[in-house]
């Protein structure tokens, strides 16, 4: 069954690139673009056609990334999450990824549904939703930096960082 971790690693990387790529798209491109568009009233196309599609791939690639990561850990799953010997680095990565998945589904997606009009919300609720979604997205962007440091462990990390 050696092909299971090999395929899981591949899928984990593919889905992870999509997830974090879209996270960086939101933070580096869409948020500033919507701010600029608000000034001249041209944001409707982004919120109607782009944001819902980006969010669709964003939230589901997050799920696939986590599941493939869990499959890759296999019988080391509990050892990683409980930081057993030799699993400290990947354990931190696994916890960061799990917190980020929670942020996507519990904070970003429900609030984006209100912002984009997929769920009914008053203007006041939308303003609050914007704030929560932005801070959750920024939190995930911040967490992605140590996440990738710990996830991308290999010979260079062992040699240079002692991990």
């Amino acid at each position: 069954m050696d092909y299971v971790p090999a395929l899981a690693r591949w899928v984990h990387l593919l889905a992870g690139v999509m997830w974090i790529g879209l996270l960086y798209y939101f933070n580096f491109v869409q948020v500033p673009a919507l701010k600029a568009a608000a000034a001249d009233g041209t944001g409707a196309g982004i919120t109607k056609h782009i944001a819902p599609r980006a969010l669709l791939y964003f939230r589901w690639s997050a799920v696939v990334t986590w599941l493939a990561g869990a499959a890759l850990l296999g019988n080391q799953f509990v050892n990683a999450f409980t930081f057993q010997k030799g699993m400290g680095a990947i354990g931190i990565g696994a916890w960061l990824g799990t917190i980020m998945l929670f942020n996507v589904w519990a904070l970003i997606w429900p609030n984006q549904q209100k912002i984009l009009g997929m769920k009914p919300a008053t203007d006041e609720e939308k303003a609050k939703a914007r704030r929560v979604a932005l801070l959750a997205s920024r939190t995930n962007m911040m967490l992605s930096i140590p996440l990738l440091f710990f996830m991308a462990g290999g010979w260079s990390h062992r040699g240079t960082f002692g991990l």
Binding site: G88, G91, I92, T139, M142, I145, F149
Partner: protein
């Protein structure tokens, strides 16, 4: 003090600082 997550650069710098903190935590867990 403003929330560092208000800006992209504040977010990136926070992420790098968090990486350093967690790195030392990981070393402590390993040894």
């Amino acid at each position: 003090m403003t929330n560092p997550l208000e800006s992209i650069w504040g977010t990136i710098i926070s992420g790098v600082i968090l990486t350093a903190i967690l790195y030392w935590a990981a070393l402590a867990l390993l040894h």
